[in-house]
């Protein structure tokens, strides 16, 4: 879908060029922040501790504003509110399923109404180019909420012909209070991926937003109140992982936790569930996704798509195609063209429509990525372009490409989450499948080839939750997304996404 948004109206163009400016409104580069507190029971609260934390504009390094810092005590309040809202007989429990859907639809409408403002705020807080926030992030949010609005009254149990004089059926019930911890790379979109299914199925929510990017989610909270969700159904707590996040993961009254973030923290979430109340856990974690380019691929398309696959969103995608395997006979040409493309990538002020790449989200990520670049040089990969900071202010990094990468190098095994591309060489299909699968991760993959047999052969062999064929980062809210192995547990989106938020109750009744 990311791809689709670009390629439908703007064929083959990943740069938002001057001719498309007319469809994107000029941004206010200093959008006001209206909401910077904790959202519980449709009201705004200071932190119990009165603590606050700063959120930074990564393009400049400056503080945007301070936000209430939620901790265990605030999570406690939020969970209580969510629990009350979930009580039998509450307005939320008594609501027609179709009405839950209507509320989600209205939320989508409000977000669409405030699209320009939300895109501005997203860019300010996260650093992604405004043109992308406006034409990709916000529209995808709206589509996600509308999609799940449609599911609310269609999620059906079954009547089942069991043996004996019994009438048997199942009910699809909500789980209860769901903790949701979302990351900073697509703040609005990750919020929508979580809220859509959890609310369609009738649960209540305690959501912790990333400390790097709390602002847009809090604004959406105000819209949740505006459209009429009952108090306590959605509660949002900005705060840190080790405090607020951990409090949610180990809370005895939270029935389920959904986490999107690093594999490292995913382990912690699962441990916390096991030592507390065995709450259901779904995880969307990291990846080191293989992007396999065969010699018969359309070279131009493969180069452009592979570039997009790695560099999109400043390289900050869980599914970034960060191991580009290129078949021997086209390797040299592919590297040369990729380098040429990377050198043309425009890095700069995210509010400028010509910018393709903004800053990394914060100082920590910035340093981490530079660290990986160093390791690449140290371990003998060939630096083809880039390799350092791109500006004096803010967290900008030059689009960087390493060639002659070997599978055992750090940059080939660990998730960099930055604009650093690894290009590796392979000979045969069997070899590349094995090398591609040789990773603890299994989130996504791609195959570029014109041959239908090879496409199926490779894609069926890859242990990855999404395998793109002749494209990359194509998302549809209708299609499930998630990881094999340490890339995660469960699937989000599509009808499959509803399973994560459902308890199935089987009810056999005796007939006489």
């Amino acid at each position: 879908m990311l791809r689709t948004v670009f390629s439908r109206p703007f064929p083959q163009v990943f740069r938002i060029s001057a001719c498309q400016h007319s469809t994107i409104p000029a941004p206010n580069v200093h959008p006001d922040v209206h909401y910077n507190k904790i959202f519980i029971n449709n009201e705004w609260h200071d932190a119990v501790s009165k603590k606050k934390f700063p959120t930074i504009n990564p393009a400049t390094g400056e503080v945007i504003c301070h936000v209430a810092e939620g901790d265990k005590a605030d999570v406690e309040k939020a969970v209580k509110a969510a629990k009350d809202a979930f009580k039998l007989g509450s307005p939320w429990r008594r609501m027609d399923a179709s009405h839950r859907g209507l509320l989600l639809s209205r939320l989508a409408d409000c977000i669409e109404r405030d699209a320009a403002y939300l895109a501005e705020l997203e860019t300010l807080d996260n650093g992604k180019p405004y043109a992308v926030s406006y034409t990709v992030d916000v529209p995808m949010v709206v589509k996600c909420l509308r999609y799940y609005a449609g599911w609310a009254d269609k999620w059906e149990g079954k009547t089942i012909p069991i043996d004996g004089d019994y009438f048997c059926y199942t009910r699809h019930e909500p789980i209860g209070v769901c903790g949701q911890i979302i990351p900073w790379n697509f703040p609005l979109l990750m919020q929508a991926w979580k809220l859509g299914p959890v609310l369609a199925t009738g649960n209540t929510v305690v959501m912790k937003v990333a400390e790097q990017t709390p602002l847009t989610a809090l604004y959406v909270a105000s819209l949740i109140k505006e459209v009429g969700f009952p108090a306590g159904v959605v509660n949002i707590v900005p705060g840190m992982g080790p405090t607020a996040g951990a409090a949610i993961a180990s809370h005895m009254d939270v029935d389920k936790v959904a986490f999107t973030g690093s594999t490292e923290v995913g382990h912690l979430i699962m441990k916390a569930s096991s030592t507390s109340n065995l709450k259901k856990v779904t995880l969307e974690l990291g990846g080191k996704s293989p992007n396999i380019v065969l010699s018969d691929a359309n070279m131009e398309e493969a180069v452009e798509q592979s570039h997009f696959a790695l560099f999109f969103n400043q390289g900050q995608c869980c599914c970034a195609g960060s191991r580009t395997y290129v078949q021997e006979s086209i390797y040299d040409e592919f590297v040369e063209r990729s380098v040429e493309r990377a050198k043309k990538r425009i890095v700069g002020d995210p509010f400028n429509f010509n910018t393709e790449q903004g800053p990394q989200v914060d100082e920590e990520q910035f340093q981490k990525i530079l660290g990986y670049i160093s390791s690449g040089k140290r371990e003998g990969a060939k630096l083809m372009c880039g390799g350092g900071p791109a500006a004096d202010r803010g967290y900008f990094i030059q689009p960087t490409i390493f060639g002659d990468v070997k599978d055992d190098m750090t940059i080939a095994r660990e998730e960099i989450f930055g604009p650093v591309m690894q290009i590796l060489k392979f000979k045969s299909l069997e070899e590349v499948i094995e090398r591609a699968n040789d990773s603890k991760y299994g989130l996504a993959a791609a195959v570029f080839t014109k041959n239908i047999d090879k496409a199926h052969y490779i894609s069926n062999g890859l242990r990855a939750g999404t395998v793109w064929i002749n494209c990359y980062d194509v998302f549809g809210v209708q299609a499930p997304f998630g990881g094999y192995k340490a890339s995660g547990i469960g699937r989000e989106l599509g009808e499959y996404g509803l399973d994560n938020y459902t308890e199935v109750k089987t009810m056999p009744s005796r007939l006489s």
Binding site: G101, L102, R146, Y147, D153, K154, Y457
Partner: protein, 498 residues
């Protein structure tokens, strides 16, 4: 002319309501003919409407076929966008709901409060429900034997003919358009000649919502001409009809004689409402009353055979008569009116004729029985007791405000008598005993069985008839099947993997 009669401030409608809607444009009939539509509360003409016949159907089919061709805007549209258009349509209906409710009451005679709170809400909710399905219609990938990759696509059927009745014009239009458009078909729709106006207004909203031209075409006209042309058209891939069983048979025959188009039918009913002695008495009396009298008795689901268990029979009759005598009949725009007129003079005569047969055949007329002395096509709320199963009023669909109350002794007996009909649309059971409820509902040959309620219909639930009450189901996920053609695609693969 229509606007003078309306009690509300009606927004100006720039498109004529009286044309034929093809390719998002308003056309006159090819023949030049028009027909009149009447206000059944007064008997007066509302306006003339262009009368579609075979030549107009040909034009509409051509437009619908083109809109369905490979590569058309409609065929290339994202499924989610089809859903979006349906949702917009629902919003537009909601925007204009006061106007539409007024027009519906004017053309059908149903009480305005009913039109506004029941018909309009039902219409809006149905469009929204099917809007949600558009991008959730899944095919499968299938673990077939051999070195093959098999998948199914759930494709639209093509050009769908839809013929809707006069008892719930707007709601029936939504029940038809919702699934057809959600699945990606194109439509040629004929509203009933008694009640074309609200359906034509939907045409204007379809255009406003942004549906591509040719996707929906609306042809007001008569059954034997326009309807028959649709049923036997070689260029129509499927026909859906809601109306009488008598005409349903003709539709099926026409389909068989022409191109074997797929057929779904929602026809009549003579629905049994079974009241056990252990039922909640007050609830049963009121529900049985509403169940048969709602919409002046003009419901395919009317509970027109009320079987009451012997011990409570006398009291039940007495209370039902009392309730019927209290039923207010009058001007549909009077907020205290519960019952408006029958839809036409023809329907009124038919109902009165059947009432006469009840009297002649020996049923006991407890109250009502005739037309009140006023303009319009009204019939008094009528109750018959001591009705025997062989009487015409116990066998034939009356489609009027006439309640038949019968007595029964045992469960086995009432199940047999309830099922002893060529119809099988709906039924109801009133009892507080769980076992009775489950056993009786399992035994009844009816597409919908209500337990301790009546006419509880919602767009999420499949609806349709057993036996001669129809073929296929509308609404719910299952309703989508009728507008889908499944294509299996099997591809040779090398190197099978589980």
């Amino acid at each position: 002319m229509a606007k003078k009669c309306l009690p509300l401030n009606i927004p100006h409608v720039s498109e004529p309501l009286e044309g034929i809607f093809i390719n998002n444009e308003w056309h006159d009939s090819v023949s030049g003919k028009v027909f009149s539509t009447y206000n059944p509360a007064t008997g007066e003409k509302i306006c003339d409407v262009q009368e579609a016949d075979k030549a107009d159907v040909d034009k509409a089919v051509q437009a619908a076929r083109l809109a369905f061709s490979l590569g058309s805007v409609w065929r290339k549209m994202d499924a989610s966008e089809r859903g979006r258009l349906l949702f917009k349509l629902a919003n537009l209906v909601e925007r204009d709901s006061a106007y539409l409710a007024t027009l519906e009451s004017l053309d059908t005679g149903k009480p305005f409060l009913s039109s506004f709170f029941v018909d309009l809400q039902g219409t809006i909710k149905t469009f929204r429900y099917f809007a949600g399905w558009a991008d959730k219609i899944h095919g499968s990938t299938i673990p077939t034997d051999g070195e093959y990759f098999t998948l199914t696509r759930h494709e639209p059927i093509g050009v769908c003919g839809q013929i809707v009745p006069w008892n719930f014009p707007l709601v029936m239009t939504a029940w038809k358009l919702g699934p057809a458009l959600s699945c990606g078909n194109t439509v040629v729709l004929k509203p009933a000649e008694q009640t074309p106006l609200t359906c034509l207004y939907i045409g204007a909203l379809i255009k406003e919502a942004g549906f591509p031209p040719g996707v929906v075409n609306i042809l007001p006209g008569y059954g034997p001409t326009a309807g028959a042309a649709i049923a036997s058209h070689m260029g129509i891939d499927k026909v859906a009809f809601t109306g009488s069983t008598e005409v349903g048979k003709l539709i099926q025959e026409a389909a068989g004689k022409s191109n074997l188009k797929r057929v779904t039918l929602e026809l009549g009913g003579k629905n049994p409402n079974i009241i056990f002695a252990d039922a909640d008495f007050e609830l049963a009396v009121e529900q049985a009353h509403q169940g048969v009298f709602f919409n002046s008795g003009q419901c395919c689901t009317a509970g027109s055979r009320i079987f009451v268990e012997e011990p409570i029979y006398e009291e039940f009759v007495r209370r039902s008569v009392e309730r019927a005598q209290r039923r207010t009949v009058g001007n549909p725009f009077d907020p205290t009116t519960e019952q408006g007129p029958q839809v036409s003079a023809e329907q009124q005569s038919r109902v009165l004729e059947l009432i006469q047969s009840g009297i002649t055949e020996g049923a006991k007329l407890e109250c009502g029985g005739k037309a009140p002395p006023s303009k319009g096509f009204f019939v008094e709320p009528t109750v018959f007791s001591d009705v025997q199963d062989h009487m015409r009023i116990a066998k034939e669909e009356i489609f009027g405000p006439v309640q038949q109350i019968m007595k029964f002794k045992t469960i086995e007996e009432v199940i047999e008598r309830a099922n002893n009909t060529e119809y099988g649309l709906a039924a109801a059971v009133f009892t507080t005993d769980l076992n009775k409820a489950m056993n009786v509902s399992a035994a009844l040959q009816a597409g919908t069985v209500w337990i301790n309620c009546y006419n509880a219909l919602s767009c999420q639930c499949p609806f349709g008839g057993f036996k001669m009450s129809g073929n296929g189901r509308e609404l719910g996920e299952i309703g989508l099947k009728e507008y889908t053609e499944v294509k299996t695609i099997t591809m040779k693969m090398s190197g099978k993997k589980s």
